[in-house]
Subunit: 268 residues, 2 copies
């Protein structure tokens, strides 16, 4: 990101209105809401784990691009004035000892019972999808109105302290003649996953069945299209699982936090 410059009043009003709807009970994936405003993955860990996680993110910046770190115990972020991270995400996941315990739509009690949570907001590929569509590249899961397919890979992230785990990737099928364009376009957003980590050859990533993603939904791959893989913001959840973190709170995949920061702020 270059600078946290302010979006237009109109754009901020759209983001506020989306967060207000979410606070009132909207419980669906957020793709397409407040278009042009940056959405973020969320993960919150006990303070004792915060350094390990921040280091894990620093060491794996393509999968864990940190957009903001809240003060310990706080649910406020500089990315959206007046927002409340306890209520302004449609759906949360509660993790205990590395296992998914439950999903909830209001995390107020979680923050009360765990007053030392440090909340991280992490970049999301929604930011560059808008630019790809503007360049005439079909983003299949948006066209087909499904969730993006995500896969655990055989690549391990660089560990940090007690945290370790696999790289998780998202996949978008791209016509062979537009793959270079997709690289260029997403490369302009290094702080929200940037360029692909892998183009074609899914088997080399340990993906044996491209139609059976580990998270999200499978998408149609047409003749002449290449599967292109980007580092994915679900990677932190994979680390929470693999490392047996005693307690964590995250967003549910696809159910993002909508900020007041325009996508353009992350464009280099």
């Amino acid at each position: 990101m270059t600078t946290l410059f302010k979006a237009s009043e109109h754009a901020i009003a759209a983001a506020r209105s989306a967060r207000e709807a979410i606070r009132q009970g909207f419980d669906k994936p957020t793709a397409g809401l407040a278009a042009g405003m940056t959405q973020a993955n969320m993960i919150a860990l006990p303070r004792d784990w915060a350094f390990d996680f921040l280091l894990y993110a620093q060491r794996n910046p393509k999968s864990c691009p940190v957009l903001d770190v809240c003060e310990a115990g706080s649910w406020q972020t500089v990315l959206a004035e007046g927002a409340d991270l306890r209520t302004d995400i449609p759906r949360y996941r509660v993790w205990r000892n590395g296992k998914l315990e439950t999903e909830i739509t209001d995390a107020t009690e979680i923050y009360r019972d765990h007053p030392d949570l440090v909340t991280f907001l992490i970049g999301c590929s929604f930011t560059f999808e808008t630019s790809m569509m503007e360049a005439g590249i079909d983003v299949r899961h948006i066209s087909d109105n499904t969730n993006v397919p995500m896969y655990k890979t055989n690549r391990l992230c660089r560990p940090a302290g007690r945290l370790q785990g696999e790289l998780v990737v998202s996949m978008r099928p791209i016509p062979a003649e537009r793959v270079a364009d997709a690289v260029s376009i997403t490369g302009r957003f290094p702080s929200v996953h940037g360029t692909p980590v892998h183009i074609g050859a899914p088997e080399a990533l340990g993906i044996t069945d491209i139609m059976a993603p580990d998270f999200g939904d499978p998408v149609r791959i047409q003749s002449g299209e290449i599967p292109v893989f980007w580092a994915c913001g679900v990677t932190p959840q994979a680390a929470v699982m693999k490392s047996g973190v005693p307690f964590a709170l995250s967003h549910a995949p696809g159910h993002m936090f909508i900020t007041d920061v325009p996508d353009a702020a992350y464009h280099v």
Copy 2:
């Protein structure tokens, strides 16, 4: 940075040879050594301060772009296999309670007496200067063989925990017709300070006398040239001073750590 890809054998040999010379006693600024290989600022803090510093860097990425964080107590980095951060920097500064205590050329005893130091390597603008010169933009302090001028500004960084301090900037005079090119070129290196933070109007940054920098040397500004300001890796030292950090070790300005990573690795 996209990936830690390996430089050529030849380039790595040049970096190793430079580090070897430094280890044997070379005690001068490192500009121009092992050209094309990334050089880094260094700061090491007690483990208890590591989270605050990593957070400070995350919140002020233009001035504190972290390239690597070593394990607590370690002097090894993934950026240069076999390098020894206790001896492979020409000159170090020792800070106590926010005050410069002394300068040394070997930090072996420091690491022995402070076994919990966490060492951070931070991007340096040398990385983009090569690209500017290749584009025919004169980099004045290199042409004139002086140290780059650096200034404390009236802009405060976003604080983190116990750390606070001013933004420090470096300045390069650029012909008015090349300022846009300088922005484009440096913008391709977002993880080593990226685009300028300020172009012209030094008084708006609180700089009253451009010929009296706070660090480094003044440089000639010719008719038709605009002073252009980039965030500077001395910003962490300003935070150490302002925040009264009980103990810290840093490189001496201009006396950098030479890595095995080519500048191109930080090009987006």
